[in-house]
């Protein structure tokens, strides 16, 4: 891999990678059984030139902000490289957000340029908030020939392949502004520097190296901090191959493992669980004798890999299982949300190591990762090289808030000094997560200090974001909480949102009201919905400016009502 100590910015490192491995395949884009694109590092460089020229011609310069809203595909990476090459600051936005949220974040980030897929652009232009859109240049990919692009340019029509001028950046300059939530109320734009990414990349690849010939399957969206690092920067600076899959359907994911002989993949817990369920079903379809043999082989594999993984032994013992994953898989990375230890153990017992990691956007990507020496299903691993963690205000059980100090920690939240000061204290990042470090230095997580949920698909949802959906109900007041914030059960499972309703005095909850709540709930994106409602008969405590004192209300609820009082919706 490139020695990243010698590089000052991502553009410089990526440019060097493209020159270093010209004939290696760097990118494959697959869609179901089809292959849409296959590029060597040389071809990638050539494909990026017209985009660089288009961006520079449109005035993108040192420090200009350019957003990408795209699904997982090769043009995402080519566009990101073109932005870094031109000295721009990349804003990777979640394509699954509503156009309303995307427009709000584009405005918050003051994006001058937007690179977007046609179907997403069409939705943005149809939004009632579109008149607020202020980016001066828009490049749209894959637009039909007759489509009205509302003033945007076609990505594919950028044709100037002359050599543009590289614009260098310094290590402490911002590289990306990454939004850690989709809130329109208070967007959290993490400003991450080139140093943050270069340091994170060195730390991760010291534990899980890439090299030419490694094939990384990218199925998480590239705007996600994990995939941006492990499915773009990491493989590129090592000359490895990234395979993009334009669908998240489990059957095509399974096909891709075999077709491309995948070495590494990162998944969120929901996908890992889907893979587990598929395997369990296949096992249950075996005859009784075959099942007995399989269990015996699993026991033998478990005994032989107790200290550390031995993929060669596991592939021999459990040949068919490994063949269904392509036969070249070295590890699955999982992060973004809580994963059941039983799922991790299931895969490890089959000889498929799952590197369980923990991190947050504010810390670059990962803070801890399991180094598999030995495998531990009950922890999220040890801090990455160069990262320190400490537990703040630990109780007698050793559990307290996890704080992190590392060169990978963001510089600040964009335009929010107050939130920055609350989150970055004396050089330590306050994660808002509750944890304990055991005698071997492994971090175990037990819940959250902050009022938020993380879904199995790795989405952060802040209750404040969705309260507006329940405004105007015929009740006195409403508030939304993360259940684990109210009832701190020291448990990472069972995250869900709860709507607290204070009815008008003397007005019991009627069926019609529940119907209205359900209807409002359904209008939210599925991962943002509340799981149930709770009746609360007292006035909410509020500040002088009438803001709800959430921590006080949560404590009052906790003292008087148990979680079993939540009525499911």
């Amino acid at each position: 891999m490139l020695d990243l100590h010698h590089y000052h910015c991502l553009g410089e490192a990526l440019r060097a990678a493209l020159d270093r491995w010209p004939e290696q395949t760097c990118l494959i884009e697959a869609d179901r059984e089809r292959e849409n694109a296959r590029l060597t590092y040389r071809q990638f460089r050539q494909a990026a030139l017209p985009v660089v020229n288009a961006l520079q011609g449109a005035g993108l310069r040192n420090g200009s902000r350019a957003a990408i809203i795209m699904t997982n595909q090769s043009k995402w990476l080519i566009s990101a490289y073109a932005i870094f090459f031109s000295g721009g600051v990349l804003i990777p936005l979640d394509y699954k957000l509503s156009p309303h949220d995307q427009l709000a974040l584009l405005a918050h980030a003051k994006a001058e340029v937007l690179i977007v897929e046609y179907h997403l652009w069409r939705a943005i232009t149809q939004s009632p908030q579109f008149p607020t859109f202020a980016a001066r240049t828009v490049l749209v990919t894959e637009a039909p020939a007759t489509a009205d692009l509302a003033g945007a340019q076609r990505w594919e029509e950028c044709r100037d392949a002359s050599e543009p001028t590289f614009v260098p950046r310094k290590r402490h300059d911002p590289a990306c502004i990454v939004y850690s939530s989709g809130t329109t109320g208070r967007p959290k734009g993490c400003v991450l520097t080139h140093e943050n990414y270069l340091e994170q990349c060195m730390a991760l690849t010291s534990l899980y190296p890439f090299w030419p010939g490694v094939r990384y399957l990218s199925i998480l969206p590239t705007n996600h901090a994990i995939d941006f690092m492990v499915g773009f920067i990491g493989p590129f600076v090592c000359g490895a191959t990234v395979i993009h899959l334009r669908t998240l359907r489990p059957e095509y994911i399974r096909d891709a493992f075999v077709r491309y002989q995948i070495t590494y993949v990162t998944v969120v817990p929901a996908i890992l669980k889907a893979l587990e369920q598929n395997l369990r079903k296949r096992f249950s379809d075996l005859s009784a004798t075959q099942q007995k043999m399989l269990q015996a082989l699993i026991r033998l594999n478990r005994a032989l890999t107790r200290g550390c993984p031995h993929v060669g032994i596991s592939r021999t013992l459990l040949k068919q299982v490994h063949a269904s994953f392509g036969g070249a898989l070295r590890a699955l990375f999982v992060g973004g949300a809580f994963t059941e230890p039983s799922t991790l153990q299931f895969f490890y017992d089959l000889g498929i190591p799952v590197a369980n990691a923990y991190g947050c956007t504010e810390a670059g990507t990962a803070i801890t990762v399991n180094d598999l020496r030995p495998f531990r299903a009950d922890t999220v691993g040890k801090p990455l090289p160069g990262s320190e963690i400490k537990i703040i205000d630990a109780g007698e059980d050793g559990i307290g808030q996890v704080a992190v100090r590392s060169k990978t920690v963001m510089s600040h939240y964009l335009d929010d000094p107050e939130l920055t000061a609350e989150t970055l204290v004396d050089g330590w990042l306050m994660t808002g997560d509750l944890g304990r470090v055991d005698r071997t230095g492994h971090l175990q997580l037990f819940g959250r200090v902050k009022n938020m949920v993380v879904t199995e698909e790795g989405k952060n949802v802040y209750p404040e974001e969705i309260e507006a959906a329940f405004e105007g109900l015929p009740v006195k007041e409403t508030c939304v909480f993360a259940a684990n914030y109210v009832w701190q059960e020291r448990n990472m499972a069972g995250d869900e949102l709860v709507l607290v309703i204070h009815p008008e005095p003397g007005s019991p909850i009627q069926h019609d009201l529940v119907r209205q709540i359900s209807s409002r709930n359904r209008q939210l994106l599925n991962y943002k919905r509340v799981g149930g409602y709770l009746l609360w008969e007292q006035d909410f405590p509020r500040t002088a400016s009438l803001k709800i004192l959430r921590a006080v209300l949560a404590e009052q609820i906790r003292e008087k009502l148990g979680r079993e009082r939540v009525a499911p919706l």
């Binding site: 997403l120 998240l248 489990p250 059957e251 929901a270 889907a274 991962y527």
Partner: protein
Amino acid sequence: MTTLDQTTEEVLRLAAEHFKVPRAELNPADDFFTKLGINSLQALDLLTRLEQHFRIELPDYELQGVSDFRTLAKRIQSRL
């Protein structure tokens, strides 16, 4: 020519079959995430079944922002 009502009926029948719930329990306006107790990955699984049945291709993004059977049927109808 298949009508939207026929497409909706087929979507309901296939969803009931795929997730093993009685057809009579499903209605066009139902939220399939809530009614079937499924996550977005399982919904994508249903999309594959629908593609095979209607012999069309539905990109994953067609499911974005869709949560009821009727709207799903409309997305299919526009590609028939």
